[in-house]
């Protein structure tokens, strides 16, 4: 059997609720039916992961995500402020004769510890979330889950991507978080292709532009799936034409689809003819990234 080069596709949208997970899970299921390729699914929406509701994986492995938080020994600290200058995130501050650490802002980069001239800074691990992996039938499934109250998703996504490197697979589908901020950039980074999902509304188009801009900035090719399409929003088609953004699929605006998804079914369960569409999309992507 012929093995193809590994391919990593990130599914992203800008606007939340456009159907990223609907598309990502159905794409993974469609490709897994083709038994020549192994499929890995990464749920990188660590603030609110939900792909497990559709793929129903059984987790067999788990790992804590920690960042190293500085702790200042006040008897050694001279309050010189070098740590504050080097910190890009305002996580450490010298105020008079005290040096304060703000753990929730700390990315655990270690710069303050390295620069401290009196070795007054020690690092202590702090848990910010967990990683889980397992199998959803043929699909290798992994996700990150951020602890409640933690503000930083990026280290979890970064460690998730690293953790699954030991599980080689031909195709990786990344379900990105919504928005266009750092967690989205981290999810997209290293992908061969970004599959954007939008809805035909002014809000959907507005955020699609932003997500598309991020993809262009990262220099990763893109294609679009329009969800809940009713063929009435011409501005979206005009944008795609002007930007040369290929539209791979239009998922119709149908009550049966909404009801099915609300009941935990996947798009390929509800509309089995989309399996072929998703397999073809993957082939198109392979031709684009070649």
């Amino acid at each position: 059997m012929m093995h193809q080069t590994p391919l990593k596709i990130a599914v992203a949208s800008g606007k939340g609720g456009t159907g990223k997970t609907t598309v990502a899970t159905s794409l993974a299921l469609s490709l897994a039916k083709n038994l020549t390729e192994t499929v890995m699914f990464l749920d990188c929406d660590v603030e609110a992961p939900n792909a497990h509701l559709f793929l129903k994986p059984e987790f067999s492995d788990q790992k804590q995500v920690e960042v190293l938080i500085p702790r200042v020994n006040e008897t050694l600290c001279t309050h010189c402020g070098k740590c504050t200058e080097v910190c890009q995130f305002q996580a450490i501050a010298v105020l008079g004769q005290r040096t304060l650490v703000f753990p929730q802002l700390c990315h655990g980069c270690g710069s303050c510890t390295m620069i401290c001239p009196t070795n007054a800074i020690q690092e202590n691990p702090k848990s910010i979330g967990i990683l889980q992996k397992g199998k959803a039938e043929q699909i290798e499934f992994a996700r990150g889950v951020m602890d409640i109250g933690e503000p930083m998703a990026v280290p979890i996504i970064r460690q998730l991507k690293k953790w699954v490197k030991s599980t080689p697979s031909q195709i990786t589908i990344v379900d990105s978080p919504p928005g266009t901020a750092c967690p989205v950039v981290e999810s997209m980074r290293g992908s061969d292709f970004i599959l954007l999902v939008t809805e035909p509304t002014p809000f959907g188009l507005h955020d699609l532009r932003l997500a598309h801009q991020v993809a262009k900035e990262l220099n990763i090719p893109t294609g679009l799936i329009i969800n809940r399409d009713n063929g009435e929003f011409k501005e979206l088609d005009n944008y795609c034409k002007a930007e040369n953004l290929p539209v791979f699929l239009r998922i119709p605006f149908q009550r049966t689809i909404a009801e099915g998804i609300a009941n935990g079914h996947t798009l390929v369960d509800i509309l089995p003819e989309t399996i072929l569409s998703f397999q073809e999309i993957c082939q198109t992507i392979r031709n684009i990234v070649k």
Partner: protein
């Protein structure tokens, strides 16, 4: 006494800025003579930790007090560590109002 006040512009006629960490300007004012120095806030557009960075900037100049519309939890704990008392300007509309209310001890302590 020397007070820091958050404003939207660089002089005593500027409007007050209700935000501490992301205020546009910081005025360092002498409450007796109304002499002042104005500083554009170096952290008005940082991506995170603006309150802490502004607090550090303020603390380095050692004012007797700092006045704003409100203080976030990180800024407040930073200023508390530096032992700088915080006041809220409440319904004051002008810089002059704020100084007068501070001098008459009628500002609300944060």
């Amino acid at each position: 006494m020397k007070l820091f006040l958050t404003t939207t512009g660089p002089d005593l006629h500027s409007e007050l800025d209700p935000r501490f960490g992301r205020c546009a300007y910081l005025l360092l004012i002498d409450s007796e003579t109304l002499e002042f120095q104005s500083f554009p806030n170096p952290s008005s557009s940082v991506s995170g930790g603006a309150g802490i960075k502004t607090a550090q900037f303020v603390a380095d100049l050692k004012p007797d007090t700092v006045i704003s519309g409100d203080f976030g939890p990180n800024a407040a704990s930073a200023l508390r560590s530096a032992n700088i008392p915080m006041y809220l300007y409440g319904d004051c509309k002008t810089v002059e109002d704020v100084v007068r209310r501070l001098n008459s001890n009628s500002l609300k302590r944060f």
